[in-house]
Symmetry: C2
Subunit: 344 residues, 2 copies
Amino acid sequence: MNLSRASIAELATKLNLSPSTISRALSGQGRISEETRQRVRQLAQELNYQPNHLAAALRKGRSNTLGVIVPHIDGDFFARVLKGIEHGATQAGFNVMVCQSNESAGHEKKNLDTLLTAQVEGILVSLSLTTKDVQHFEDVRRRDLPLVFFDRVPELPQVSAVVLDDYQGAYQAVEHLIGQGCRRIAHIGGPQHLNICRNRYRAYRDALQAHGLPYDEHLVHFCDLTLPEGRQAMETLLHQNPQLDAVFAANDLAVAGAMPVLRAAGRRIPQDVALAGFSNELFTLLTEPHLTTVDQRCEEMGRTAVRLLLDMVAEQPHQYAPRRVVLQPELVIRESSQQAGRRG
Amino acid sequence: MNLSRASIAELATKLNLSPSTISRALSGQGRISEETRQRVRQLAQELNYQPNHLAAALRKGRSNTLGVIVPHIDGDFFARVLKGIEHGATQAGFNVMVCQSNESAGHEKKNLDTLLTAQVEGILVSLSLTTKDVQHFEDVRRRDLPLVFFDRVPELPQVSAVVLDDYQGAYQAVEHLIGQGCRRIAHIGGPQHLNICRNRYRAYRDALQAHGLPYDEHLVHFCDLTLPEGRQAMETLLHQNPQLDAVFAANDLAVAGAMPVLRAAGRRIPQDVALAGFSNELFTLLTEPHLTTVDQRCEEMGRTAVRLLLDMVAEQPHQYAPRRVVLQPELVIRESSQQAGRRG
DNA sequence: ATTTTCCGAGCAATCGATTCCGCATTTAAG
DNA sequence: CTTAAATGCGGAATCGATTGCTCGGAAAAT
């Protein structure tokens, strides 16, 4: 009983052929008669032959496997990007190995090691929050192994990366609020050492300025963008400037935290205060009213990153120039910001 | 320049030793002098030697890799389970290959093939919704390859599986509602061809009966548990039995859909209608009031499934008996169901 | 001093598929 | 009808690490 596996050698024996012929018959490469090919394929089918990927990979020096390192798998964003990555890779016939760094630079390093020894042909990385220097990625570059960063990328020009144009997204969101007639737009910002948060804040300021609105520091509050911090931020802002008529937060979660505070203060959404967030999390469709937000094109980011990586893998001498792709986010307008029927 | 990789052979040449000695030095297996071992390890370090996992795997017949097939990566549930799986596998020194079936039996089959040729040592599967027969998994069993199903499992006694005790979770939820003084508890159920939904419905009936409450078919509505269907279900239920004082839904999303309907009908939550859902999705903390729900122990399910699988992998002749683990869900009580201060 | 152990290390086979090279045999060309 | 080209296939090396067997020499035992 051929329980475990049928090897090429077995097929060869059964058909009185040499292993090389079997290989050619199955791969379709090289010179082989149509007849033998049929015979081989048929027997392979019958015996339920399954090639040993490891052996082929070893010989060919190509594992057909890509590695991914994400800070964590759960949570909307990375899960969706992963979906895109897996999808793109599968389509191209590649397998995907997934590692979590758990936001730890140490883990990230170990993950990298794991993937390298696993002989992946390319690596996709979104940096952990605690990663300060990207020295450990130098090995990868030195090895000439394709490497693409996404979303959380190092600020170096010589690496390939896929990022979202946070600035544009935020700018559009704020401009939209202005277009709705809001004049005192508050901002709940994120940690300014993260460039994505910095960009969103910058866009907020620039959009105000471009439309002749004054910048009021009492309308800005920075926090960690969690639910409770969003709540607290809103309380602070309401206290600092009760006149505010809109809030743009760097994050949907912060908006979710802000909503009950506004409601408790007797403000109607969106009539009294318009709201816009960032990320297009699933729950933005579950709030009342639904949240206006900025979609981050998660899946597309994943697919794009894979495409970039596979392009690099394909270029033989790996002499590619680093490429940077900036995805344009999409403003998703929902009820929370529509003041069309505003009373004034 | 040793750009790409240093092989064991190279180390051997440089140290005037044989490859076998190098291998022993690095692995610590076999007889070797402390001195040579040190020398080898040092040089390995200097040359940044990285073992070729493929070669070792091929020779040893052990890939140290596990395969996972999930219907999709995104969405709270599977992402969280995946997190647990990755975590458990990494701890045990295994890599994880992830595939999505996209809820298609065809894809699932292909994924299986991919994983088999990749020589994974074990496979974790959560079935796609369109998978009617599990014939394709027969190969795996015949190959004697460890296989563990989780969450969406086939109804066969001879397979290993990790599932949640949906019945218990639902029972507790309903009992909790009864404990809050509710007497006319409605149920928004899911497709009854899914056993998880069937179990939740069954628990609902049993809990009512156990507490001497009548079963009223006007209080039950089945749908696909999406947001809009939840909304519609609620409308139907309110119409069929305006007296209802609680809703237990087989799903958090359905509850989210029901909330605005109740509110629009002038019912206060939880004072007039208490709510309980199922899954403990993240957004249950974002609604007002926060949702009472049943936690599915996602990460634990992932870790448990991996542990089961690795146990099977470890047993040499793979003569394990199929094991089934039933995880106990946890009722998470929040505001949406607390009628302590109910007016009566 | 001689025999027995034991230790450290090398040789070579092996895992399974791929691929370069070369040998027949057939087919086409001159 | 001979020479050249093309075709079909086998042989054997190879990818890199592992491992059973062997062997020389040193240490221990007699």
